[in-house]
């Protein structure tokens, strides 16, 4: 049963050039997956968001729901696939 906890369940992909670093996805994420780049910037000079703790992602899409620029694509392994 415990091994399920280590299984990957979800993943996010962030369009870094479209991101404006507003931080709303970081606040919305229930699993502390996302963070803003502390130093790097995109070609518009924004500190874009990235998946800092990617393995904790559950694919809930809360980040994508609040993203004002639609930069986030979310993937989730369907529950059946996780159980197997």
């Amino acid at each position: 049963m415990t091994e399920n906890n280590n299984r990957l369940k979800g993943a996010v992909e962030i369009n870094r050039e479209r991101c404006k670093g507003c931080d709303l996805c970081v606040v919305a994420c229930p699993c502390d997956v996302l963070k803003l780049q502390p130093k790097e910037v995109n070609n518009r000079g924004y500190h874009f968001a990235f998946a800092d703790n990617a393995s904790a992602c559950i694919g809930c899409a809360a980040c994508a729901a609040v993203c004002p620029d639609g930069c986030i694509t979310v993937y989730r392994v369907r529950p059946k696939a996780v159980a197997r």
């Binding site: 979800g10 709303l24 694919g59 729901a65 609040v66 993203c67 004002p68 694509t73 993937y75």
Partner: protein, 255 residues
């Protein structure tokens, strides 16, 4: 299973709607306009109305909405979006016609057009973005600005004896017999976004069903105009905007 393996089409949960194109939006970071644009595009896509929609863009920050959502748009002069939408809907009764307006457009210069379009019961949807400020021109006081709220033209806060009271326009519209669905939503949390999306869908459906005018007010933030970070602006909105503009349905119809 690695993260790259999860990122395959069969596991896709959410992606940017096709109708929201790849053009970089001019809105400030964290602006509610972006979220509302996205959910409007999602709803239009889900309803299969991409080729059946005429949208009317306002004057204000959302003036460039026509650049971002790939449906047919008309740019109205300041405040006149409901009048333009009236013509579009009357000439094309089967089309889905909606306006997308801010509070400076809808509640200041366009008050007459808004109230009369709603009073005539035009079968259009009005999406009303209320951030209590003129965001585009530099954060001046709008009719919807809260009492005591600091803006660039009310540096000591809005004083009712000098500047009048905040204009709460959706309850006025809800009184009119021409309106069928009047609701107030917000887009600050994932749950609120889901509710707002549902409301927009219901509003679009009711205007397609020719039930009358439907109004969806979205209480929004203007982090630049309020001089706050997007996160703080959301908190400020919950603490200060919600008491004056509480979310919920003001008028609804039975299915």
């Amino acid at each position: 299973m690695t993260i790259d393996e999860i990122k395959s089409p069969e596991n896709l949960v959410y992606a940017k709607p096709r109708l929201l194109n790849d053009r970089h939006m001019h809105y400030c970071p964290g602006c509610s306009h972006g979220v509302v644009h996205r959910i409007v595009a999602e709803v239009l896509e889900e309803m299969g109305q991409d080729n059946n929609t005429i949208a009317v863009a306002p004057v204000g920050c959302a003036v460039f909405a026509y650049n971002y959502i790939d449906v047919d748009w008309i740019e109205a002069s300041h405040g006149r979006a409901p009048a333009v939408a009236t013509a579009a809907k009357r000439l094309n009764p089967d089309r889905l016609v909606f306006t997308y307006q801010g509070d400076g457009d809808l509640a200041a210069i366009g008050t007459a057009e808004t109230i009369h379009a709603a009073n005539r019961g035009e079968n259009i949807t009005i999406i009303f973005i209320n951030n209590a400020i003129y965001g585009m021109t530099g954060g001046q006081m709008a009719p919807t600005t809260l009492e005591g709220m600091k803006t660039s033209t009310t540096p000591y806060g809005r004083q009712p004896e000098l500047n009048g009271y905040p204009l709460v326009i959706t309850p006025l519209l809800a009184q009119l017999p021409g309106t069928c669905y009047v609701t107030r939503q917000a887009v600050h949390t994932p749950a609120a976004v889901a509710k707002a999306k549902k409301a927009i869908r219901r509003a679009f459906q009711s205007s397609l069903d020719k039930r009358g005018t439907s109004i969806v007010e979205i209480v929004s933030t203007c982090s630049s105009g309020w001089k706050q970070t997007p996160e703080k602006a959301n908190q400020w909105m919950v603490e200060n905007m919600f008491p004056a503009y509480p979310p919920g349905d003001l008028k609804n119809f039975k299915d």
